[in-house]
């Protein structure tokens, strides 16, 4: 992979030069928290590079919360999303398999994916809820981006991950080949961020995470006390980079028109799996809570050959019941071992 160097000043003017021609979103600090916003001439200096992942998952740009799918929407525009982290990029693999690479294609996803240029960032200051290292990932992107930006004091290192990324850089003369010294500097920063995440997670044990396979007994999920604090708000599923569940609403008129709208759904909602006559395969809160984690660490592993959890920690950060899933999993695995 090509990695180029560009000075701080030149990168900033490079980005400024792009905002006229396309919509570019990047992370900005709102009261200490990172949210995506559109870059404008006024805010371009305030982009937050290389801190950690923004609050919103990347899927928001590719799989909108609500979208008409029949007849499908038209006029999807080109956008650039700056700032997704490694955990978000890993999640893309699941989104792609569900909506683009299977036997049946979503009407809009592939086009939107094609028209979205992704400029990811390294994470230098992970949150206490981050745990990518527990699920075998690292706080720096290793693929699935068009460009990746690593900040070092001297400027930016830019990895080119795709032809799309190469075209975006174009013939700009301000990018230079990097030296081994700069690469070493970056590697050292990355190593430190990884160590920080490991340190933040030393109380949690995911060693035997594959043992969640078959852990579907309701009683098992009553053992971690905090599960009862779940208020079934759906924050964890909405913010998850790999939660793809949606429902279809019929939004046409009552006579002939058949319009269908896709809306995010959450398996934590009691109505999610409830059938017409009222029966539900997951009648209790514990079944539903377990289902989400089993989906991440068992079902998706079978479905896609990879975990559905990338360690972004959004489900922990956003939990209204203050449930730390890492503690729940550690406890459930420990209990299961006893049986």
């Amino acid at each position: 992979m090509d990695t180029l160097y560009i000075s701080n000043k030149d990168w900033e003017s490079f980005i400024r030069g792009k905002i006229e021609s396309r919509k570019i979103f990047a992370p900005f600090d709102f009261n200490g928290t990172l949210f995506y916003a559109k870059i404008t001439a006024e805010n371009a200096d305030d982009i937050v590079y290389n801190r950690a992942r923004p609050v919103e998952p990347l899927k928001l740009f590719l799989f909108p919360f609500k979208e008409r799918v029949s007849p499908s929407v038209e006029g999807i525009g080109d956008i650039v999303v700056m700032g997704p982290a490694a955990c978000d990029l890993k999640g893309l693999e699941i989104l792609d398999r569900v909506f683009k690479d299977g036997d049946y294609k979503d009407p809009c996803y592939a086009e939107r994916r094609e028209k979205t240029l992704i400029i990811s960032f390294d994470c230098a200051s992970p949150y206490p809820v981050c745990f990518c290292e527990l699920v075998g990932l690292h706080p720096y992107p290793e693929g699935n981006f068009d460009l990746n930006v690593s900040r070092i004091p001297e400027g930016f290192l830019v990895d080119i991950g795709s032809d799309k990324g190469r075209v975006f850089i174009g013939e700009d003369q301000k990018f230079f080949q990097i030296t081994d010294e700069l690469r070493k500097k970056r590697d050292e920063g990355r190593r430190k961020a990884g160590e920080t995440i490991k340190e933040l997670n030393r109380d949690f044990d995911f060693t035997n995470i594959e043992n969640l396979k078959g852990a579907c007994q309701t009683e098992l999920w009553r053992i971690p006390k905090e599960v009862e604090n779940c208020v079934q708000c759906g924050s964890c599923t909405n913010n998850c980079p790999t939660c793809v569940c949606f429902l279809l609403e019929d939004t046409g008129n009552r006579k002939e028109e058949m319009r269908k709208t896709k809306v995010w759904d959450s398996c934590l909602f009691p109505g999610y799996a409830r059938m017409a006559a009222g029966a539900s395969p997951r009648p209790t809160l514990y079944d539903r809570y377990a289902n989400r984690l089993l989906c991440k660490y068992w079902y998706m592993v079978e479905n896609f050959g990879m975990k559905g959890c990338t360690g972004c920690g959004r489900c922990i950060a956003g939990c209204a019941g203050k449930i730390d899933k890492r503690r729940v999993i550690t406890e459930v695995l420990r209990e299961k071992e006893k049986v």
Binding site: C216, M258, M275, V301
Partner: protein, 276 residues
């Protein structure tokens, strides 16, 4: 461009037949041909109301019309019951895997259906009857709560039952509670499996009905000697997309929509809450 997976084929309602106090059959004429294989299902849209998955109850060989037999259980099914001839609905599909009829060849096919579960079995029955000589014998065990709840009564009792004299076919008919006019068996449908004269080693059992019925039928079939892979169960779950994306229908890691809706029991064992 790929065809939009969410765009239904428009259908005109031709006829609505009342099968029982809670079950109706709607006969539809699709605007363009809609083919399916026995065991596959389709999503039926009532415009502006919603969509729900059903296995057609008509013959897969019938290309002009399509029938769905639907029990009134919720919002969408209530609207299906309100349909009148001339109304417009939509169908998407077919989805899921068909029954492996090639594998069934030369075998004794045991069909066990209860209540509205007879609907998918009716499509399978038509398909089997189409090439009935391919199978050693068809044994059809039918059950319902009461004689009034029996669907396809006219067909089963008056048209199909008499065929048993001529074809390798046999019916075992029961209701949970009979009335004074009922001249067939009484008892839950598992009772029809008592004294079954089937060469179990060379047989498959296809079961469709309410979860509790499927559970006890499976247990009974295992008791009389069927093995897990010989038992074909029709699973039902909340479903939206029908194509393995929305994840509502998962039973563990299995999609009812694309891996099913019919599963052999060995595939389901160990998955969470299968008998719902």
């Amino acid at each position: 461009m790929d065809k939009n997976i969410y765009e239904p084929v428009k259908c005109r309602v031709i006829e609505v037949i009342t099968e029982s106090p809670t079950i109706k059959t709607v006969i539809l004429k699709p605007e363009k041909e809609f083919s399916f294989l026995a065991g596959q299902f389709a999503s039926l849209t009532v415009p502006g109301v919603g969509e729900a998955p059903f296995t057609p109850s008509s013959s897969p060989y019938e290309k002009e019309t399509l029938e769905f037999t639907v029990m009134k259980a919720g919002r969408v099914t209530a609207e299906i019951h309100n349909l009148k001839p001339g109304d417009t609905v939509g169908v998407r599909g077919p989805y899921g895997k068909p029954y492996p009829l090639d594998f069934y060849k030369g075998k004794e096919i045991l069909l066990v259906g209860g209540g509205v579960g007879l609907a998918p079995l009716r499509a399978l029955f038509f398909a089997l009857m189409h090439t009935v000589k391919d199978y050693k014998r068809i044994v059809f065990c039918c059950g319902a709560k009461t004689p009034d709840d029996y669907i396809y009564k006219g067909k089963i009792l008056d048209e199909w039952h008499p065929l048993c004299d001529k074809l390798p076919l046999c019916f075992r008919i029961t209701v949970d509670r009979k009335d004074e006019k009922w001249k067939y068996g009484e008892g839950v449908v598992t009772k029809t499996l008592d004294g079954l004269d089937v060469d179990i080693k060379n047989s498959v059992a296809v079961v469709c009905g309410p979860p509790i019925m499927m559970k006890f039928t499976t247990l009974k079939l295992l008791e009389i000697g069927y093995t897990d892979p010989q038992i074909y169960l029709s699973m039902e779950r909340k479903m939206y997309c029908g194509v393995g994306q929305c994840r509502h229908c998962l039973i563990g890691d299995l999609f009812v929509c694309k891996d099913g809706p019919v599963f052999t029991y060995d595939k389901l064992k160990g998955k969470p809450n299968i008998w719902v």
